[in-house]
Symmetry: C2
Subunit: 445 residues, 2 copies
Amino acid sequence: MSKVKPSLPKGTRDFLPNEVMQRKYIFNTIKNVLEHYGFVEIETPAFERLETLTGKYGEEGDRLLFKILNSGDFLSKVDDTTYQEKNSTKLLKDIAEKGLRYDLTVPLARYVVQHQGDLTFPFKRYHVAPVWRADRPQRGRYQEFYQFDADIISADSLFNDVELSEILIEVFKRLQIPVSIKINNRKLLEALAIYANAPEQLVGITSAIDKLDKVGMEGVTNELEKIGLNENQIQQIKTVLAITDITALEKVFASIEIGRKGIEEIQFIFDNIDPSHVQFDITLARGLTYYTGTIWEVTANNVQMGSISGGGRYDNLTEMFGGQNMSGIGISFGVERIYDVMEELQLFPSNIVQGVKVLLVPREENNTNHCYDLVKKFRSYNISCELFTGNIKKQKQFNYATAKNISFIMEIGSDEIESSIYRIKNISSREEQKLSIDAIIEQLK
Amino acid sequence: MSKVKPSLPKGTRDFLPNEVMQRKYIFNTIKNVLEHYGFVEIETPAFERLETLTGKYGEEGDRLLFKILNSGDFLSKVDDTTYQEKNSTKLLKDIAEKGLRYDLTVPLARYVVQHQGDLTFPFKRYHVAPVWRADRPQRGRYQEFYQFDADIISADSLFNDVELSEILIEVFKRLQIPVSIKINNRKLLEALAIYANAPEQLVGITSAIDKLDKVGMEGVTNELEKIGLNENQIQQIKTVLAITDITALEKVFASIEIGRKGIEEIQFIFDNIDPSHVQFDITLARGLTYYTGTIWEVTANNVQMGSISGGGRYDNLTEMFGGQNMSGIGISFGVERIYDVMEELQLFPSNIVQGVKVLLVPREENNTNHCYDLVKKFRSYNISCELFTGNIKKQKQFNYATAKNISFIMEIGSDEIESSIYRIKNISSREEQKLSIDAIIEQLK
């Protein structure tokens, strides 16, 4: 075996044990809320047939898919004429049939169509898994990263919109992240385009409004001019965007049917949740054109970062795989960003990075058997513990206990063994007690 | 978007919600034991540099690695002379730099060398993750499957061998799988080769003994003849293989130093565990040549299946990446086979596939608001529940509750709303009670 200086592919990461514990804390908090609301977890393979993935994410997406080379003599089936062209795009079709998962949405659509007979509808599923994109890596952007999606398929009832709003509130409450949860409805943006006499410009208007956060109202005005709207139309849009109150908006859209429907939907949500946790925001657009109703976006307060969660209602998820049209609604938790926010605001509870209760350290080599007897005794009381099996040099064991977030350390020599009185030290307070083993068990239980 | 009939790449699987719950039960049981013993979890990326993986698994392994095509115009850097050869092996080097993880051992070695300064030694880590192999798929063999490894790096002390023995006992006890845990020591096999006057034939002898289960003693005899051992030598080996008692073996190996050492090591383990749970077996060889001391193998009793767990002590894990030589010891849980065994023996506890406590079903559309008020009330008492948001046709809701393993169902109409007395039905016993909402909350809490 040749010696290779070890390194990782660009844009990928190892996780150290403490990071894994912190990440699991986030995942488990979200999972617990979702399971409390009746969501179940699914899993799909890391790679899918390229046929399944290609064409679902636009041209850029196709380019960013990681393709897996066919196994064995992958060139054997390539005909010479094609090969001679030396064209990557053409050759690709003949040498790669699989690609790494790019998101969790297309696999969900495939899964629902493929297993339709085995699923229970309304199908409330969550899925947390890595996805891979051949993006240029940069600070905070990786080629391998986790997504965490929760969706309801066959979700006609507006109570699903209510429940997902509640879930967003509950998750960030449990994570103790101060957030703004904004809500809007795609139908109101359609109404806005009609109101401004430019229904055919819905996509352009939405995309202009979507940039409001970045470019300000002036920038939006420029965008709207660019797509050909006149001063009057732009003024009408700006008037509506300034409205923050649903009742006021209701009057403006009184004669636009889709506007009335959008108002009704959003009002329904506010009627069924604690309205103080969610803000209506007509300027919330979200770029994805497949949304048809409710849309959400969550940002962390006082942190410079994009949205950490979001989602919405959509209609034609399963259509791409020939499934019957089923309404869907879903939210996605940006778990990588949530991690960064919690790091920055120091929101991780200290007790989640937690080792065993107690480390037993023999003072001399020949005290080890006695230590191990105590280890077995502790374990019989379900007290987690470790025997220090490393090289015995004073202070190293203490470092071991500190690094592994162990709560107590007991160093055991012939004095302790003879007297049956043991010293137990609290690692964080450095306080030491002398106790019988039964008293120690009582304390650690 | 074109419509594609959805399917999966061969050798890969989706998991339905109930399967996910059962798999998580296995993973969590093993995790809980390991964490109780001070093991911490790590994560590594799904793909590694091919440089890291190639040459570590033999020629067949290299062939079975899934290679990832370089992004973008992957042919642009291939020079024409190389390209003209149309040779898959040669072209591969220029068009693929990454490969999917083949096991968790090589990533561990890389990880330990790369993060040495950030780790605490003895480093007890576990890692549970999918690995990928381009093997021909067949019943029970997949191209994507999970491995679950626990290793201790820098593990000179024999107490590590003791602890891993205890962990094997504890895990299968908690999973309630009746197993045989066999233990041997590589040094005894070395002693055996010396005893038979064929020390240079250690690998051949080990590999012959390794086949004992499949080919019987006659087959082993044939194998030993094939590698050139004479009748006398073979007889000596067979005599030793018939010994089941450590004390008896001690006498046979009395004059062979490495034999005495092996006996000492294995005796040390038996002195520190409950010996009734583990069997010494001199015929346990395990093919992997890198083991240097203790070896384990676990099989499920009364099930036709290979080993479901195994492991051993090894020496030079980090050497392949230029790390200093660190002793290591580890075990691997065959989680896919453990799942199959538990299915076959029906060992999954029924309560692990568990939905919410109660499903609330409006009898008429206009009872939904009242139902949702109750949902909110239940949740405020931390009672998990779901509002049925599907189409209301009698019996469908009951199917929904059954399929999702929900414990109780409450159908609510105007009668219940007016009288404030609700009917709650136990899904499994079909027993129904009529109670006030406070009484129901008391019962569900």
